[in-house]
């Protein structure tokens, strides 16, 4: 007996139908926000990921040498391929808004919300350095969750890397990159270890403690501004603060209330350059639902071309956990599926004809083919998730009307073929 690999998932129809619905809503909302679909290979040169993320990511990839002795890898993330596509086509008019829902692979120990293969929606705007692009990116992520029934169940934690850098500099940091990595691990480490690390990069202990107090919580943007200015003397952050405030204002004005300023959200990856954000369930039970931010330097790393960029990724696994917890893991399309049963030889022949005719009008149906026992056929209809049966016997053939039964309610009607659907 062959089994699937550990950390990988099979999806049977009862789950896959829900997933298809989710992906379909993601695509629809992406289009509504002006994003267009792209796709790229699942295999790429490993070097591309080394350029972006350094060697650390390599231990977590499915990488190998192909027959041409090239080091290749199953893509562990979507951004590098997207940027590669962007810089390959220098002729493309910008700004571009692109999305995709690829499979991604990471060779790490499977755990809740974290599998070795997952699907992740990615959306990015290139060539647009505006705060409106930032707001649209977060707005799209929120609109997707809202369309899945999650409105009110999540919050978006937003931060500005530039502001954090100003703060760190003003309190004496000599290694801002390292301190951002420390803050990124804030909720995973003991307070004294955090302080020790910050101190080791040149920050006074008092100020490190003050920073920890700030970083611990979420704030409204107004609260955050007040604390930053009063406690950290961060130098000239007027432009940065003005920009992030305006981003908050736009999102709030347009109905996205669940946005907080969260200083511990810095995103581990060193390549973010501006706004960063992560979506979490309100109760804090799960990993992040989505995460992203502005990364204006990546295309230069790949090609020498400087193209501003902002985007996010939203994986399928945490989303499923949260939707299950909220009772939202169900098919909402309520489509009718007809099982057509012939009651005698003629009826069976007719059932095949009726099936093909109904399908011409895109009615979902199958003609029963499993023998003459009616009670077996009816059992099949229920077991196989059909919503209705259509019975065809001599009477039905004579009248040109078929008996249509709603399997949930038991309601039964006599209908002409053209009325069924």
């Amino acid at each position: 007996m062959i089994e699937k690999l550990k950390g990988f998932r099979d999806f049977y129809p009862e789950d896959m139908e829900i997933r298809e619905e989710i992906f379909s809503k993601m695509r629809k909302k992406a289009k509504v926000f002006g994003f267009r679909p792209i796709d790229y290979p699942s295999l790429e040169l490993l070097e591309m990921f080394r350029i972006k993320s350094g060697d650390e990511i390599l231990s977590q990839t499915y990488s190998f040498k192909d027959r041409g002795d090239r080091e290749i890898t199953l893509i562990p993330e979507a951004t590098p391929s997207t940027v590669r596509m962007l810089v390959t086509r220098k002729d493309l008019p910008r700004p571009v808004r692109w999305y995709n829902i690829p499979k991604l692979w990471r060779y790490e120990e499977p755990q809740s919300g974290r599998t070795r293969e997952h699907m992740q929606m990615n959306a990015d705007i290139f060539g647009d350095d505006s705060l409106e692009a930032d707001a649209d990116t977060i707005g799209l992520a929120c609109s997707i969750l809202d369309s899945l029934g999650l409105r009110g169940s999540y919050e978006v934690r937003v931060n500005e890397r530039g502001i954090m850098e100003h703060i760190l500099k003003s309190i004496g940091s000599k290694d801002i990159k390292n301190d951002l990595a420390t803050i990124d691990r804030f909720h995973k480490m003991k307070r004294e270890d955090i302080v020790e690390r910050l101190v080791s990069s040149g920050i006074e202990e008092q100020k490190a403690i003050l920073l920890c107090e700030f970083v611990e919580k979420s704030y409204t943007i107004e609260e955050a501004e007040q604390i930053i200015v009063q406690k950290f003397n961060p130098g000239n952050i007027t432009d940065l603060m003005g920009r992030i405030k305006e981003t908050f204002r736009i999102l709030k004005e347009n109905g996205f209330e669940n946005i907080v300023y969260n200083p511990s959200t810095v995103r581990g990856l060193a390549y973010y350059t501006g706004i960063v954000f992560e979506g979490f369930d309100r109760e804090g039970k799960f990993r992040s639902i989505f995460g992203g931010g502005r990364y204006n330097n990546l295309s230069a790393l790949f090609s020498g071309m400087e193209i501003p960029a902002v985007g996010f990724g939203m994986g399928d696994a945490v989303l499923e956990n949260l939707m299950r917890e909220k009772g939202l893991w169900k098919n909402t399309e309520n489509e009718r599926r007809y099982y057509i049963i012939g009651l005698d030889e003629k009826g069976r022949e007719e059932s095949v004809r009726v099936a093909f005719r109904l399908r011409q009008r895109d009615v979902q149906c199958v003609a029963h083919s499993g023998g003459k026992n009616l009670s077996n056929a009816l059992k099949n209809a229920t077991k196989l998730n059909f919503t209705h049966t259509i019975l065809i016997g001599k009477n039905e053939m004579d009248n040109g009307k078929y008996t249509v039964r709603d399997l949930a309610s038991g309601d039964q009607k006599s209908m002409e073929m053209d009325q069924i659907g």
Copy 2:
């Protein structure tokens, strides 16, 4: 500069939008025929493919050892994973109808219609040995092509492995499997080599020549029956012939006229057990568009459970070639995409608000964020594939009506926000 791997494809929006539309039609038609979606990992144990296809497939796979020293592979075909899922869940009520559109990978020299990574729609019916299931499978493949505008541009070549085996046996074959493989290569080899091979497995030269004459062409099912019975004395094929004739009748009766009996269609893979079929463009320019058949023994190979099966696979690459050739490679959805341009500071603020409001009604739009130059903004709108602009200046703000321009026709209207969409 990082490049993509040879034999792999990037898809930019202009193509990806068409692909999404195709995949969406495939999913829709599959549902209409009662198929439900599944999905499985892209990585599986290599052993699974060895069991099904023997060692020959192994040289064409992207396979490698993972860190746990397991021989794993990127899946080169969909059927083994599908059957693995089926036999893993013994509790599943049957018959089941499943589809999926996975990516598949083959390490072979790229050529037209054949890439190292492709997407392939797969649809299978398990636990249903009826001819109606055979007809539904072919019917689905045809309905998909018809929905893509290809009606009349393709034909389906059908054969029955059992009948071919009867014929081979009756003309003296001592190695039917090998002779089927020879017939499978009929159009790729010289006639004398075919005859030589057939003779070497025990068939008289005269009969081998007769067989070649038969195998060379396509027939109506009636013509085929007549020739088979008169020329090959195939023994008792009444049931097999009755079944395939009935399958032809159903398909024809339901509007699928383009079905021919083609004796050279035997499908290379040894595992087919009954009807086999392949879709080709009428002019014979391309490789097969889809292919499949009945394979009643595979689940027993995997699990000891005998579960009848019939299905097909339809790849994306030949389909694209054919659709391009027929002028069908275009987006048919005609969706409106609005580019909202603020003519002054207030207008720009309003444009963001309008964008979010329109999106609440699923109207596709983006607010221009690239500076104040109106002619640049208008150029952007056209270059970026928007269909309409919405202009917002002082007048528009005062009247609560916006100027909406159709970029194709140049028509311009003054509209309230609620009317736009």
